[in-house]
């Protein structure tokens, strides 16, 4: 007999302490664009960002002063802190957005902040094309922070290290430690990010200059493109998204960044260590190569059948970019969202939906079900079929390569299938809500439901500033569930429930 523990004041103290650190990190993100705002005379934007930063940093230091504790984080604490980091963190991140007035309501500002932090990249902002430079920078920095994981950012900046912070790392749906020490892992992630930032600037600034941008605008757009592509977030400085640049080189470099963002940091480490064998053998590399090729064929067939593009070059450029944008979960668009419905036929958008649902690699900045889970669920099904077909005495062993050769255990396959099913439920929730609350057809509702639930950001036009608050709220839930891959949020619900129904004594926790 065991029971769920009813949290007490000490539990709240430890949760509040770490949540304060997360909010302090967000405060720094808000503070970063303030010099830009002051330099450009964007006084209202500077005040909005300063207000958000001041409040967030106050909470962080008050938490430091009053809630500091030496108690060890439990797994439940880690899960709850991570879930709250996204839920409460989005509320604080929305402060500058709400006071800017560019959102229909506070819920709209919260939607935008959640979309940024979960790297979904859907937007409900009014008049993006006249937005302040500093606010544009803030939206992109928020995505980068969300993509790399708020927790990782905070760890790298503030944490004293040690084993207890590892709990936060694992809770944040990053269950693959690259290096033995979590702090070293977060430093490795920061190093990889810095390297890609430098490489992006070296490649993108000349490409943008060549495309006709003035030097400062080229730098601004290069930084924004790096932040939104490597984080697989997908925000853009202009409403036209990637179609604004009219440059094959810019699109090519952004595709490389999206591809890099889609790779797990473990594979980055393998590539960093020149372990190409690991890259080739990795289950996710193979899964993505296989599914990507299949979906590209489907997408091309759809576009050819519909006669969307007259020449092969255009078909490949638009098709390949959109597919990579979908599978990497970035959400950059090379054409207006409505044209997926009005000019791409049926098969091509279906292939995009498939790519969005699968998503990128586990332990990367990408969203979606993740190639690893799709592959493990598939292998689990094949394993069961083989078991039924072979004699009862036969021992069926299924293996896969992730870091090393592993035996597929039933609980691993079951866990992958469970999360996959939860994603499907989330997609259905978004789809049904859109059908109920908006004047859209099934194609639109499904496309948007999958795009939101998998944190992709390619929009067919359902998400707009005037959409219903109910749909907005459901999409917010979908984004958070998708980003945290359900477990942390479900644990948070269990935790909240245990305030009323839990026992005062420690429950037996089995792993």
């Amino acid at each position: 007999m065991s029971s769920v523990l009813r949290p007490d004041v000490d539990d709240l103290r430890i949760i509040g302490f770490y949540l304060g650190k997360v909010l302090g990190g967000l405060g720094v993100v808000m503070l970063a664009p303030v010099p830009v705002a002051l330099a450009l005379g964007e006084w209202n934007a500077a005040a909005a960002l300063g207000l958000g930063a001041g409040i967030s940093l106050s909470v962080r230091w008050l938490a430091d002063a009053h809630l500091e504790t030496r108690r060890t984080l439990s797994w439940a604490h880690g899960m709850v802190i991570v879930a709250l980091a996204w839920i409460v963190g989005s509320a604080f991140a929305a402060i500058p957005m709400h006071v800017s007035g560019r959102f229909t309501s506070a819920l709209g500002a919260y939607f935008e902040a959640t979309s940024a932090l979960t790297t979904t990249g859907m937007s409900v902002i009014h008049d993006l094309d006249h937005l302040e430079t500093s606010m544009g920078l803030y939206r992109h920095l928020l995505q980068l922070a969300g993509g790399l994981g708020i927790i990782i950012v905070i760890l790298a900046l503030f944490s004293a290290g040690g084993s207890r912070v590892g709990t936060l790392y694992v809770s944040e749906a990053r269950d693959e430690r690259i290096l033995p020490n979590v702090l070293r892992t977060s430093r490795f992630i920061a190093r990889v990010t810095a390297a890609f930032l430098v490489a992006s600037l070296v490649a993108l600034v000349p490409a943008l200059l060549n495309a006709g941008f003035a030097p400062l605008r080229a730098l601004e757009h290069a930084v924004a493109l790096f932040a939104s592509s490597f984080s697989t977030g997908g925000f853009s400085l202009m409403q036209a998204s990637m179609a604004y640049y009219h440059s094959a080189w810019v699109e090519l470099f952004v595709m490389l960044l999206m591809f890099a963002g889609m790779l797990s940091f473990a594979l980055h480490h393998a590539l960093w260590s020149r372990d190409l064998r690991e890259f080739v053998d990795h289950l996710e590399t193979r899964t993505l190569a296989l599914t990507g090729t299949g979906l590209l064929v489907l997408l091309s067939l759809g576009l050819v059948r519909e006669g969307t593009y007259g020449d092969l070059a255009a078909l490949v450029r638009k098709g390949l970019f959109t597919l990579l944008s979908a599978v990497s979960s970035t959400g950059h668009q090379v054409n207006s969202g409505e044209t997926y419905l009005t000019d791409w036929g049926v098969l091509a958008p279906a292939a995009i939906v498939g790519a969005m649902a699968i998503g990128g690699m586990a332990s990367s900045t990408a969203g979606g079900v993740k190639a690893l889970r799709v592959a493990l669920a598939f292998k689990g099904v094949v394993h069961d079929i083989r078991r039924f077909l072979l004699p009862e005495s036969a021992v069926v062993v299924t293996s896969y390569h992730v870091g090393r050769r592993r035996i597929l255990r039933p609980e691993t396959a079951r866990a992958a299938t469970t999360v996959l099913l939860l994603f499907v439920l989330s997609f259905l929730l978004g789809t049904m809500t859109a059908l109920i609350t908006s004047d859209v057809d099934l194609t639109e509702a499904l496309f948007e439901g999958v795009s939101i639930g998998a944190n992709i950001g390619i929009s067919i036009g359902v998400v707009e500033p005037a959409m219903s608050p109910t749909l907005q709220a459901v999409y917010i839930v979908q984004m958070i569930l998708g980003r945290l891959e359900f477990v942390a949020v479900l644990v948070l619900f269990g935790y909240l429930l245990s305030f009323r129904r839990g026992s005062r004594v420690l429950g037996r926790v089995s792993r």
Partner: protein, 277 residues
């Protein structure tokens, strides 16, 4: 990880569970409270202790929401940031007509029959039915925004025809939420783009231009994008700076938040120093 659930629901009172599991980290609080009435009393006290911090957090979030709502509403706003563009040609259609499926292409011809002669295209009409006007001469009116990307014997420009461009001007001076920015890509050959002023960005409405040209559904020069290849350009309203009024209450609130953060930092350092002693 799994956590097994049970409580009074399993028929075991809390007190009994306490007796079994007092060796855990809350044994100090649970010790000596194995009686049911004592347990109930402690439970109520525990709930009260937990309730206040939770209510405090909820209250903080509520205050934040109220504060930001007040600051949003207190922002000064003009009825419009620029004058509306006069003498705009009527759109080709009052409402965009969407072409969604291959088998509905016949409807494209039906829609063509009801197009308003001499009307202008809009980005909404083109996105809703790209095939409707593909390869035809069109008239398009909108504001040049972002950048003028000069290269290869001309310039790419983004020309928006949303309500910010043609009616109220950029968001900021006015705070009327009118939806997404929207527009079309226009290619201006050399000879047409040289006279353009600064494009629209924050604090500026770009030139509002009337363009005559050819609408391409898949322009090979733009990698298959929808473009208007301009032949003629007329500036209907020149680029103008738009001053955004300073939101004084917001500035005051930001300074107060900065002061609060500074004091909190000082307080945290003081507490840490005391703890160290």
């Amino acid at each position: 990880m799994s956590v097994e659930h049970s409580d009074e629901r399993d028929g075991v009172p809390d007190g009994a569970q306490d007796g079994v599991q007092t060796s855990h980290r809350r044994s100090d609080r649970a010790a000596g409270r194995t009686g049911t009435s004592g347990t109930e009393r402690t439970r109520v006290q525990d709930r009260r202790r937990v309730r206040w911090p939770l209510l405090g957090v909820a209250g903080l979030l509520g205050i934040l929401l109220a504060l930001t709502s007040v600051l949003d509403r207190s922002a000064p706003s003009l009825p419009s940031s620029t004058e509306a563009v006069a003498d705009l040609p009527q759109p080709l259609l009052d409402e965009p007509v969407r072409c969604t499926r291959s088998d509905e292409r016949a409807s494209v011809d039906d829609v063509r029959r009801v197009l308003r002669p001499e009307g202008r295209i809009t980005s909404a009409i083109v996105s809703a039915c790209p095939r409707l006007l593909a390869g035809r001469d069109v008239v398009y009116v909108g504001e040049v925004v972002g950048d003028v990307l000069r290269r290869d014997g001309g310039a790419w420009v983004q020309v928006n025809d949303d309500a910010y461009a043609l009616e109220l001007g950029p968001f900021g001076a006015h705070r009327e939420p009118l939806g997404f920015s929207s527009g079309l890509t226009v290619w201006l050959p050399d000879g047409l783009h040289e006279g353009l002023g600064a494009p629209g960005r924050h604090g500026r409405r770009g030139d509002v231009v009337r363009i005559e040209g050819l609408l391409l559904r898949t322009d090979p020069a733009d990698g298959g994008g929808i473009t208007v290849r301009a032949r003629a350009l007329e500036v209907l309203a020149p680029s103008t700076a738009v001053d955004e009024p300073l939101n004084v209450p917001l500035v005051v609130a930001a300074l107060a938040a900065g002061l609060l953060a500074f004091l909190s930092w000082g307080w945290a350092r003081l507490r840490a120093r005391r703890r160290a002693l």
